[in-house]
């Protein structure tokens, strides 16, 4: 069965390793913070200027001066730090952030990503996405395999304006885990009960399918 958004977040959480500094985007990526394995410590960065971002506050502890990049009220953990946005993006550019997880409208089999603009419709702006994808050491995209019309979001070439080129390393969808290779998407894992045929049918970009594709292990 295909995963729901929580399942996608759980699978991505397995990519986290002890000691990582991680930036999570808005949407499914934010959920990843709920599934960090108990035996490891990761530190979350919020690009407006927080390192050591903690969970949402208790009602009584809400502080208007403390929000994350999604404009949500948050807390800061012991050992956290505040700084300005210029320094925050310095951290990102200089490779201090180990992993970025973000959503996408389209990903190409060359690792290009589009997630900020649909021409003719509202342009909300790229926020920090262009900076993050151009600089993070490791970028994982969390998204659905197809759009609401049923069309593949894993393409030979993005049709929407790009956010970055050749930057995505891995994609986790409700159906599959795929890595980007010089020869296109490589299928690494399939969601429990999802067939390789379904993934092939819903992937428009070049797809390398090994003889054996294991099922994702999600607790």
């Amino acid at each position: 069965m295909a995963l729901d958004k929580f399942g996608i977040a759980k699978r991505i959480a397995k990519e986290l390793k002890d000691g990582m500094y991680v930036n999570l985007g808005i949407g499914i990526p934010t959920l990843v913070a709920n599934y960090i394995p108990q035996d490891i410590t990761v530190v979350f960065q919020s690009e407006n200027g927080i390192l050591g971002m903690g969970p949402y506050p208790e009602e009584a502890a809400i502080d208007a001066d403390l929000i994350n990049a999604g404009k949500e009220t948050v807390t800061v953990i012991n050992g956290g730090a505040f700084f300005d946005s210029a320094e925050s993006f310095g951290m990102i550019r200089a490779g201090k952030i180990d992993l970025t997880v973000l959503g996408a409208m389209e990903v190409s089999d060359q690792g290009d990503i589009a997630n900020w603009k649909i021409p003719g419709k509202m342009v909300k702006g790229m926020g920090g996405a262009m900076d993050l994808v151009a600089s993070a050491k490791n970028i994982i995209v969390a998204m659905m395999h197809t759009n609401p019309k049923g069309e593949s979001k894993l393409l030979p070439k993005c049709s929407l304006p790009l956010t970055g080129v050749g930057c995505v390393k891995k994609v986790v969808t409700e159906l599959a885990v795929l890595t980007i290779t010089p020869n296109g998407f490589q299928l690494l894992e399939r969601a429990p009960g999802v067939s390789v045929e379904e993934i092939i049918a819903k992937t428009a970009g070049k797809l390398i399918v090994p003889d054996f594709v294991p099922e994702m292990v999600i607790e």
């Binding site: 001066d65 404009k71 505040f82 300005d84 946005s85 790229m126 926020g127 262009m130 080129v165």
Partner: protein
């Protein structure tokens, strides 16, 4: 030397039509509420506003959009404001969308007296059009220029009469860089204190950058997304 002004009305009185203004804050976090209200009262028009976001419909820079005082916005994300969308589509409003890190760094470069720099953000995308591209150590970069403004307007938690500022929590955001970058910088503070009451070790923005400072009042500190522990 006197930097202390009575209030926002007085501190912003000489901002003229067509001025280029940087406004600190991220979303509604740490925005200069008093000065935005004063700009509405002064009814200065044709403004170019440099700010990461454009407020919401009825708060922050949204107030200046309601009154159609803004000609152009330079921002990274403007998705929270329906009025903005309407004015953009009708052509009343001009918008330059800039990646957030590029916006922050271009302001910081102005503060440091550096005219231009190279960043990888936006390489290969439509924002690279017309920009110089250069390769360093096998990676491609765009040349971006410093962003200057006639006025920078920021809100700090605490400030002394010499202009030294201290910020609280995530409100540093764009504000500390903007405070250092304005040709004239106006700071509104929640607590205005005497020189000596702020430990020099704790200063976020040194007084040299601040030209005007005043004790702010009636802060609403509106929260855009009130999220609590489930």
């Amino acid at each position: 030397m006197n930097k202390v002004f009575k209030d926002a009305i007085e501190a912003t009185a000489d901002i003229k039509n067509g001025a280029i203004i940087m406004l600190g804050g991220f979303g509604l976090n740490g925005i200069p509420e008093n000065c935005i209200a004063a700009l509405v009262k002064h009814n200065v028009c044709e403004l170019t506003c440099i700010s990461n976001n454009a407020g919401v419909d009825d708060f922050g820079l949204g107030l200046l959009l309601q009154t159609k005082q803004i000609k152009k916005m330079i921002s990274s994300y403007v998705g929270e404001n329906a009025l903005f969308e309407k004015q953009l589509l009708s052509g009343e409003l001009e918008v330059d969308l800039v990646p957030q890190g590029t916006l922050a760094t271009s302001i910081q470069m102005a503060a440091m007296g550096i005219p231009a720099y190279f960043t990888p953000a936006g390489y290969g995308t439509e924002i690279a059009i017309g920009k110089e591209v250069r390769e360093f150590d096998g990676k491609m970069y765009l040349m971006e220029k410093a962003i200057h403004a006639d006025f920078a307007i920021v809100k700090a938690w605490k400030g002394d009469k010499a202009g030294n500022l201290v910020f609280r929590k995530a409100t540093r955001n764009f504000s500390t860089s903007m405070a250092k970058a304005g040709n004239i910088t106006i700071a509104e503070v929640e607590h205005l204190v005497e020189p000596g009451e702020i430990d020099p070790d704790e200063v976020d923005v040194a007084g040299v950058y601040i030209h005007r400072i005043f004790q702010g009042s009636n802060y609403e500190k509106r929260i855009e997304r009130r999220t609590t522990k489930i």
